[in-house]
């Protein structure tokens, strides 16, 4: 009986190593500074993680499908700048600016998906190229100027970033709803299973009659949709944006997805675990800030913790800590 208990605890540990790591951090930081689990702080962290989180949901699809998307950071800058600019354009206004921005961002995602899915180009190269190309596009569009909403009290545009419903900040709500929806799509629908199949074993997927190109194409559309949503939250939260607002986010997003246990080789990962990965990143950054550590130290500690977490996750899966390449 007791042995069975130990085994099942061990089983949970093995399956949810990342969750355990998350709890360890949370408890550790709380001892360090009790304000860490202050309800305002917790909501604050989740709210500021929402932008990264929404992006990570889309990238999870791309990664499970066996590809990478490094263009999401630039794409976020693009969508934030575009939505703010159109918002200020009297011909558009907020109600039209948002769908127009979504359409433009989805076009970029479609271009990614076309190049990778239908022309079978390497996703690392394509999205790395798009990272620079979209940055250039954004600068061309804005002429290098910051975009700001001039009359902030006269618009309802701030609701996505600053509003709250039922006492929950809207960004958190959007993140939660989108995570639930995409989680169901990935886990419970035929499309979701096709994404796993394409990323896990492309050849087998082809022989099973799965249209690989279309599946890959759609993962990039989902990614672009998520980025557009994140861009909307970002623009609404700061009511203004620099051309470089998303710079460097692509790596943080990827870190969160990998931290959640998705394999870079494709075929594994879940939305739930990505959400945990995002929260770990958010709480680490917040915890280190609250601990009052020097910035340089924070950088080092963040990545030490990420690598430790990944190790813990892998080690629990393998059932051993030491496993050299044989």
């Amino acid at each position: 009986m007791a042995e069975a208990m130990v085994k099942s605890v061990g089983g949970v540990l093995a399956r949810q190593g990342i969750l355990v790591a998350f709890l360890v951090f949370m408890i550790g930081f709380t001892f360090w500074n009790p304000r860490f689990i202050d309800i305002d702080n917790v909501f604050g962290v989740i709210r500021s993680s929402a932008i990264l989180g929404v992006m990570a949901l889309g990238v999870t699809f791309v990664v499970i499908g066996g590809n990478l998307d490094l263009s999401v950071g630039s794409m976020l800058s693009f969508s934030a700048i575009v939505v703010l600019d159109l918002h200020e354009n009297p011909a558009f206004g907020p109600a039209l600016a948002i769908p127009a921005m979504f359409a433009m961002t989805l076009c970029l995602g479609a271009l990614n998906g076309f190049l990778i899915g239908y022309l079978r180009l390497n996703s690392l190269i394509v999205t790395l190229g798009m990272l620079s190309a979209i940055h250039g596009l954004t600068l061309t569009y804005s002429g290098g100027q910051n975009m700001d909403i001039a009359n902030q009290s006269a618009t309802w545009f701030d609701v996505f970033g600053r509003g709250s419903a039922l006492g929950i900040p809207v960004p958190v709500l959007i993140f939660a709803l989108l995570a639930a929806f995409l989680g169901i799509v990935l886990a419970k629908t035929p499309f979701g299973r096709k994404v796993y199949a394409v990323g896990g074993n492309g050849t087998a997927a082809t022989f099973s009659g799965i249209p690989r190109a279309r599946v890959v194409f759609l993962t990039y559309i989902i990614s672009a949709f998520c980025v557009a949503t994140a861009g909307l939250i970002q623009a609404s939260r700061t009511m203004g944006a620099q051309n470089t607002v998303g710079q460097g986010l692509e790596l943080e997003v990827l870190a969160a997805v990998i931290l959640g246990g998705a394999s870079l080789l494709g075929g594994s990962g879940t939305i739930f675990k990505t959400v945990i990965g995002v929260l770990i990143l958010g709480f680490i950054q917040n915890g280190l800030l609250l601990a009052g550590l020097e910035f340089y130290v924070q950088f080092v500690v963040t990545w030490v913790i990420i690598i430790l977490a990944v190790w813990l996750d892998i080690a629990t899966k393998r059932g051993k800590l030491w496993s050299p390449i044989a």
């Binding site: 304000r35 305002d40 290098g144 100027q145 970002q234 939260r237 203004g240 607002v245 917040n286 609250l290």
Partner: protein
């Protein structure tokens, strides 16, 4: 185009009148900028520089942009040497890496003016003048603005403040923080600076840092940010936490968003640094040197204090 027409007109008139010798009346100045388009300040600087040059019929300019790339800037400096410009203005992409190229220009006897942010001290021997803002003074002035405000509010003996700095390692960020931290205890010895964290010149980063500060400290009376863009991020965080009313926000490089927030009474003060003044000062420094005038090595243009009280004297920034 009009500039070119004017210039050629001026040149040909001069040629007719003085037969060749007068070609010296017109000067060619080359500029290689850091990264136009990366932010509004640099974009406006370039426009102002070209406008100032066009307004002066005796000046022809070669305007180049390094796009933030050191290697490209070095190549551009070498190009300008080949073109044998009369003077060269450089906005360094990297204060250390451009020195060898600056030395080549020096050896080619082309006067070099550094604009906006200075190169490292090793290169000073090859440079005729630095034209730009004095960031240490800007930091010091921000400390004075903060202290004067606390004195008005009667909290100069108990106030606690936090600082949000620019990108770590960036000279402007270091100098402003240094000016602020040195001056504050001189004017307000009892104000405590409880913590500094970088906001990386990024509004979203500054907002996140400020959210953590608000959780960590129950009592924050003032926030000093390395520029207004970050300052507005901090303000947004405080507004969301309903604590902005208790906090005096002071920044630097007055941006339009900062100016507007001052107008709404949410943001207290900043340092007015105009890219137009910056560009015009650089061009004027070059012209003064070519005219053989004595120019100080550190040729700062003035960056005055701006607060809610005197903002009427300043135009809304264009960036």
């Amino acid at each position: 185009m009009t500039c070119m027409t004017k210039l050629s007109l001026a040149c040909s008139t001069a040629l007719v009148a003085f037969a060749g010798a007068a070609a010296a009346q017109s000067v060619t100045i080359g500029i290689t900028q850091n990264n136009v388009g990366v932010d509004s300040y640099q974009t406006t600087y370039e426009q102002a520089f070209i406008a100032a040059a066009e307004a002066n019929p005796d000046v022809e300019v070669v305007v180049l942009d390094a796009g933030g790339d050191v290697a490209r800037q070095i190549a551009q400096i070498q190009d300008l040497i080949q073109q044998d410009v009369d003077a060269m203005i450089i906005w360094p992409t990297n204060g250390q890496a451009v020195i060898p190229a600056v030395r080549e220009a020096f050896q080619a006897e082309i006067p070099v003016i550094i604009t906006n942010s200075n190169i490292a001290e090793d290169g000073f021997d090859f440079v005729r003048s630095f034209s730009g803002p004095d960031n240490v003074t800007q930091g010091a002035r921000a400390a004075e603005i903060m202290c004067e405000r606390f004195t008005e509010l009667g909290i100069q003996d108990e106030a606690q403040i936090v600082q949000i700095t620019g990108q770590p390692g960036y000279t402007t960020a270091i100098e402003r923080a240094e000016g602020f931290e040195n001056r504050l205890p001189e004017v307000c010895p009892n104000v405590t600076l409880v913590e500094s964290q970088p906001g990386n010149w990024n509004r979203e980063d500054a907002q996140r840092v400020m959210e953590a500060f608000l959780v960590q400290y129950d009592d924050i009376d003032g926030v000093y940010s390395g520029d207004d863009n970050m300052g507005v991020g901090a303000l947004n965080a405080a507004l969301a936490a309903d604590r902005a009313g208790d906090i005096t926000f002071v920044g630097a490089t007055n941006f339009a968003v900062g100016y507007d927030a001052m107008e709404r009474g949410e943001y207290w003060g900043s340092i007015y640094q105009s890219p137009v003044d910056d560009a015009e000062a650089a061009l004027q420094t070059a012209l003064d040197i070519l005219a053989g005038e004595e120019v100080p090595f550190l040729n700062y243009f003035d960056t005055p204090k701006i607060t809610q009280e005197n903002m009427g004297e300043f135009d809304r920034p264009v960036f």
